[in-house]
Symmetry: C2
């Protein structure tokens, strides 16, 4: 159900990639305001209408070229960590790992994105998409930890009719969801700060003078560590 065979999905991803790369290329060439969605669609070889089946806004397409599916890979990276490592470490390391070198080659693109307000907003909001996958990964970890204690009700799953107070399972999922949302929000704050202040652009032509992104990410996630620690006890 997740992997929908192959060729179909493959083509979809190809189209998606073509679209976002066309969007970025054209935006860089002409400036973001001189790019119509028709141009992007044409450059990618699809109809304008199809373009909107892939991206809900023009900004999204441009930003996606830099963002790619980084946020979805965060969840995978968290899941990949051995269950023995602390949840907080797993999450933080996974995020920092995915966000280091956020596109050194996209330096020009980043400059453009951080310049235009509309693009900046789309870029800052990107981490929101990590929330649900991350929630699942965190929930899995919390469940795994509890596994040692109770082996009884392993396969009591969705669809059941619980109408008021949730089961322990429900609680864990809810907690995971909240933590994931909090983490995503912290990442958003980090990126906002990283990108937010054009500030004194300094002497060198460096893209962003605000400090290293990994550092900002760790600093932003640090306040949440107690919450993550508490959750796995």
């Amino acid at each position: 159900m997740a992997r929908r065979t192959g060729l179909r999905e493959q083509k979809k991803q190809a189209t998606r990639k073509a679209l976002r790369e066309a969007a970025l290329r054209l935006a860089l060439e002409r400036g973001p305001d001189n790019v119509r969605v028709d141009d992007i669609a044409e450059a990618a070889g699809v109809s304008p209408r199809t373009y909107n089946n892939y991206f809900a806004s023009r900004e999204q397409a441009i930003v996606a070229a830099v963002t790619a599916e980084r946020e979805s890979r965060v969840a995978e990276a968290v899941a990949a960590r051995p269950p023995s490592v602390r949840l907080a470490d797993a999450v933080i390391d996974a995020i920092v790992e995915q966000y280091t070198d956020p596109g050194e080659e996209h330096a020009a693109a980043l400059l453009m994105i951080t310049t235009r307000p509309a693009l900046r907003e789309a870029f800052v909001d990107a981490p929101a998409s990590m929330e649900l996958p991350l929630a699942a990964a965190i929930a899995a970890r919390l469940a795994a930890r509890r596994e040692g204690g109770e082996a009884a009700d392993a396969a009591r799953d969705s669809g059941a009719d619980r109408d008021d107070a949730g089961s322990d399972d429900d609680d864990r999922e809810h907690t995971a969801r909240v933590l994931a949302a909090a983490v995503a929000a912290a990442v958003r704050v980090a990126i906002d700060r990283w990108v937010g202040r054009p500030g004194a652009a300094s002497a060198s032509g460096l893209v962003v003078p605000s400090g290293s992104l990994p550092g900002l990410l760790r600093a932003s996630l640090a306040p949440l560590v107690p919450a993550l620690d508490a959750a796995e006890r």
Copy 2:
């Protein structure tokens, strides 16, 4: 600077109120899909263009009639708590206080909002607007707590040229920002759950069967309590 004299702002708020109430009334009368923004503007006695100076989307206007400025009052409520109470309690109580009776009189409106996906999304995203004011309130609290220890550098404020590692002051603001973002995200999750499952609408014609909103709010904020506690030490 904050209170811009009076009559001007007063009229603005009046127009804003007229717009959101017209939006809600028309949406309830005709159904949300049969309301053009022109209708709303006309009903409020302004031009369609002006309508868009107040609300960025049609959904926003309708939802605002139920939401009002609740989120902005959360920050005020937090600030109003005496500094002796625990930060976590101040935040949680303030939020629960603002969200209890989220519009008992707007029952019909809530039903409509939770039904239409577009409106639901706008409603769920509403708490995002509490983030910045809340961050300021939390920062003030953290600063106040520290005040007893250090009275030395009290008025070392913005505008200074710090180009890399932030001062302690900076750190505190950053922490506050992250915590506020996390709290807002948790509230969003709570509302999402509250609204998300139309579920079995139960026998009674009750609006939302998912459990009490205050309960959900407390449950969603609970995982963040350790983080809030840790921040004020």
